[in-house]
Symmetry: C2
Subunit: 157 residues, 2 copies
């Protein structure tokens, strides 16, 4: 059985999603701020979040965050592009090795925009395999990050 | 035996340091760029790096990166401050639980400037214990990061 991008769904902000998020290692101020906004009725239940995920049954087993960045703020592509910044790609430990991470990244690629990510924890091989390329490291811009880039046009080269 | 900040040393860029860096999980484009610059004689052997570390004997067992950020680019403190951004705090697995991480952070604090870090992998409790406070999450600025802040004045409150 292979996981396809059709199993990737946008994640709505609601109490069930917020509870699922607590199982992920990269849980922090962003998730807490969403929960607080939900509790204070500052955002509607079932509002859109920047997260996308994959469920097995009713359990969220993988997720990523995608922020849309205007070309006005692009520091990575030349000429500057409207692109996505991909964060917090994570598969729960018991569900690794099944292609969930790959399906999430392919989903992001299917949106048709360039993507910038920060390859963490020695994940360089994964990003290279997905067709990303390391950015030319710039210490002022990158400050210890490990930026990898993908552009739809790169597939045609 | 407790580890003190006097054991923290600035790390010079040379082949020995570059070899030590390969043992750390957060090894990436920054370290590769330093190695390439060294090999191409673009930087001098034994030039200063933004890294600080602690040795046991001649083995580097813990490190962090500190970037000095001008108040002109400060997005975290009000009023804007010259401050340090602390990255890549990491202790090798066999050397954890001995206070190396604490000594590195205390060394950074001893420099007398505010500090911004990104609390990763559920390290929130560590940063709180060190006296850092979570920033108010701003999705445009923080984009999935988990920013924690420390200011020398906070100690006096």
């Amino acid at each position: 059985m292979s996981i396809s991008i059709s199993q990737v769904v946008p994640l709505k902000i609601n109490y069930k999603t917020m509870e699922e998020f607590r199982k992920f290692r990269e849980y922090g101020l962003e998730e807490l701020a969403m929960l607080e906004d939900l509790e204070a009725n500052l955002i509607e239940d079932d509002a859109n979040s920047p997260f996308f995920g994959i469920y097995e049954g009713d359990k969220l087993v993988a997720r990523m965050s995608l922020y849309s960045i205007s070309k006005k703020y692009d520091q990575y592509f030349f000429p500057p592009q409207n692109h996505y910044e991909l964060f917090k790609l994570e598969v729960l430990p018991d569900y690794r090795g099944k292609g969930y991470g790959t399906a999430l990244v392919k989903y992001a690629m299917s949106l048709g925009y360039p993507i910038k990510t920060n390859a963490r924890n020695a994940s360089d091989q994964f990003w290279l395999k997905m067709g990303f390329k390391p950015a030319r490291y710039d210490s002022q811009r990158d400050r210890g990050e490990n930026p990898y880039l993908w552009h739809p046009e790169m597939e045609k080269e």
